[in-house]
Symmetry: C2
Subunit: 480 residues, 2 copies
């Protein structure tokens, strides 16, 4: 029996994290949720796919301005183009993001059940999770805010815990039973964690919540009125822009507070569904090693990696040949512009490392070499005193801005696909293996009129080659 | 008082090693001796500079065919263009290389003193070494083959040892005294090494020798007649080719044997000069860590490296940002196409690693991304399905071969310097920021007529882009 539209659950996916502890793969410019880490799809795609199907309405994805095209492209790629993408003008932590989503959905239909989740966790047993969701949804429809309490498999100090209370009457579904929450416990020390795991009454707080929009709005009104007011203000002032819901500036007035502190630790309505779906927050390289497939020596490897006498290592290379000899319990992550070698038990310190790199002014702390734009991506492949070479990929049908530069000339050589180049008054069709020269100061534009991606090599020459020497005259993506 | 020409010592520098244990920096295509490892100059340059000055004649450098332009260029750069570069048609170990050098020099002047050394060792105290050399030369002129016995600073198992015997009469010079050799000891186990260091009579065998050409030839005739015959044959059949001494094919008949086994362990003429010049064979990353400057935590770093809570690590990056968190006793070496992470105490196993990589068919085992040619170098910077991009640097005055390709077209964009391009019947002058298109099948040639290096970006397009699709029609360097 198909689910009636009104009964469909709305997934709310929070995609505002930066995943700093997974540097150098995850960086502010292209964080963790956009990488394939634990499966074939990216974390965002896997998360969205988990909450797709006849039970669900299209998701609401909340993210920052900077990642909007990335979110749209990844959802489109995963066949989820119907998602509503909500843009925060500034990040204001989870309470405000959830409040905005609840206000957006709840205006028209306060009885709608929302399933709130981070975009960057992994789940091994999706049917198991959906069974727990069924119980959580029953509790939600009964007015509760239900959390998923993951049965702990080790005394993890990186997670918060939930102490389960009495069983809730009528809270059973799909073999799962919702219970009251006795209390929330913040990230514990090792001894406390061990005692809690031993005791058997504590569960990991997965950061997923199920509640109706109405319940959330009411509890926010009671416990976090400022957050709610700002979020409502943001929704009221929202603009539809290229298919995105761009929250109004009023959103920025929200205090920056987590939903745990703002609501969950204060509400009388909290419930928890104990479950065991193989959940991991994939918060650090160590936790990724925990859930990864390993060889006989305990090594988890990905990419062109060779080991010799290595044990219990996590080794990942994005392309550069990587060899490990005689090491134990080491994390080694190799990207094209940054390498991390770390003791596996000190994987949490990567956060401090990134702070240190930022303080040293290293752009690799926050930005990748490949930069994503609404029309595709570019990547520096070589540079010298007065030149640099970029590989540019333009998506089918996409078009860069009409622009000019004051300090550089450019050569473009098409190596795959077809380009239309505007150069001052000319309009030039360039096929594979053809090139064009763009002298300093000329007004130009690049477009992919074809059905396959356009790849070109750009050679820039000039005394100053910064990205800020672009005068945009006209832009399809509203950047002029 | 200047040294009379006939009394000048001839340095003989053996540059045939591959330095496998220093992978990924050192590879067969561009091995250890051509890298700056322990000082500002390359190992070869530092070695040659150590043996330059009024005491010395220009050196004889023995190397393989493949490295001839590299040796010539590095010596030229170091102001040692007068070196005689002797090319082995095949590598035949140290006895044959030394025999060829002795035959080459000794024909005309058998009394000439030769100072034989590897191109790839480091010496901290050069004046100390030269003082020991003075004593060794006295012994050599008295008919001895003198070695340098390095006073051991640790129970190293990677070196051979020399047990010193009685002092030689008249063997004193510059505060050093030559002694007879009681015996040579091959690389010992740890216990034997410890006992020898404890005993105080054993010295490290540095692999440097001082003897007259005549003594060497006579001892080779007695103890290794086949080696000598082949080496003499090679010298007799030598051709002068672009300034190189290219040994004749007869050289290949020499048995492959080290000078230690062939002569030193058999001769009655061996002497040893105990000394302490801060010598290291720089045979592994661990030995490089031993001699490197270290920070307060014992870390030796080079390149863009950040450490956080690391201790006693050796970290070297050729350009990619490299971060180490919480590791101890780890070697991490990062190049643009290969990364090695290794326990410092297992640095010897890098040799096996390279064998493994070779067996896996990884080209990074033996070749670098940047490839050196007589005219300069090239380096792949990007590649895709039907294209690749190279950065080409042509030395002032140099000229590539006249060539054509059957499977690819090329775009050349000059980004620094000036080029002359021949294309079929045309001759085109290209300035910075100008480009030329070379269609498939056209006959072309690239030349740098200028005074500064020419850098260009080459974009190749075609279904097959292998280096073997070059038909050379004419070549300045004899490769057509």
């Amino acid at each position: 029996m198909p689910t009636a539209p009104a009964d469909r659950i709305v997934p709310v996916i929070l995609s505002g994290g930066t995943g700093t502890r997974l540097w150098p793969l995850s960086r502010e410019g292209y964080p963790k949720q956009f990488w394939p880490l634990a499966a074939a799809g990216t974390m965002l795609q896997e998360t969205a796919a988990r909450a797709a199907g006849p039970l669900f309405a299209p998701p609401v994805v909340v993210c920052g301005e900077a990642h909007r095209f990335l979110v749209a492209e990844q959802l489109r790629e995963a066949g989820l183009a119907e998602a509503r993408i909500v843009l925060e003008p500034v990040a204001r932590n989870s309470a405000a993001a959830i409040a905005a989503a609840a206000a957006l959905v709840g205006e028209a239909a306060p009885e709608t059940v929302l399933w709130i989740m981070a975009a960057d966790a992994a789940v091994a047993d999706v049917p198991g999770l959906l069974a727990a969701l069924a119980a959580a949804a029953v509790a939600a429809r009964a007015g509760r805010i239900a959390t998923f309490g993951i049965r702990p498999t080790r005394p993890e100090t990186g997670y918060g815990y939930i102490e389960a209370g009495a069983a809730l009457p009528g809270g059973e579904a799909a073999g799962h039973a919702a219970r009251a929450v006795a209390r929330f416990v913040e990230k514990p020390d090792a001894a406390t964690a061990a005692a809690m795991v031993e005791g058997g009454r504590h569960l990991w707080n997965s950061g997923m919540f199920v509640a109706t929009a109405g319940t959330l709005l009411a509890e926010l009104a009671t416990h976090a009125p400022q957050v709610l007011a700002a979020a409502k203000d943001g929704v009221a002032g929202a603009a539809r822009d290229l298919g995105f819901v761009r929250l109004g500036a009023g959103f920025a007035e929200a205090p920056s507070i987590s939903i745990d502190h703002a609501v969950m630790e204060r509400t009388a309505l909290a419930a928890v569904v104990p479950c065991d779906p193989g959940w991991s927050d994939v918060g650090s390289w160590d936790s990724l090693w925990e859930i990864a497939a390993k060889d006989a020596d305990g090594n988890a490897t990905a990419g062109p990696v060779t080991t010799l006498g290595a044990r219990n290592c996590f080794v990942r290379s994005e392309g550069i040949l990587t060899a490990v000899v005689g090491l134990e319990d080491v994390v080694l992550v190799v990207t094209d512009d940054a390498v991390l070698a770390c003791h596996r038990e000190r994987a949490q310190e990567v956060k401090q490392l990134v702070e240190k790199l930022k303080a040293e002014g290293r752009k690799e702390a926050t930005e990748h070499r490949r930069v994503y734009r609404p029309w595709g991506s570019y990547e520096g492949v070589a540079h010298g005193a007065r030149f640099q070479v970029k590989r540019i990929v333009v998506r089918p049908g996409a078009k860069l801005s009409l622009q000019k530069h004051y300090h550089r000339a450019e050569h473009w050589v098409v190596v795959a696909g077809t380009a239309i180049v505007e150069r001052d008054k000319e309009r030039i069709l360039l096929r594979e293996n053809e090139s064009v020269y763009l002298p300093l100061g000329c007004v130009h534009r690049l477009e992919n009129p074809g059905m396959i991606p356009l790849t070109l090599i750009e050679v820039q020459s000039g005394p100053y080659l910064g990205e800020d020497d672009i005068v945009r005259i006209e832009d399809t993506y509203g950047r002029a």
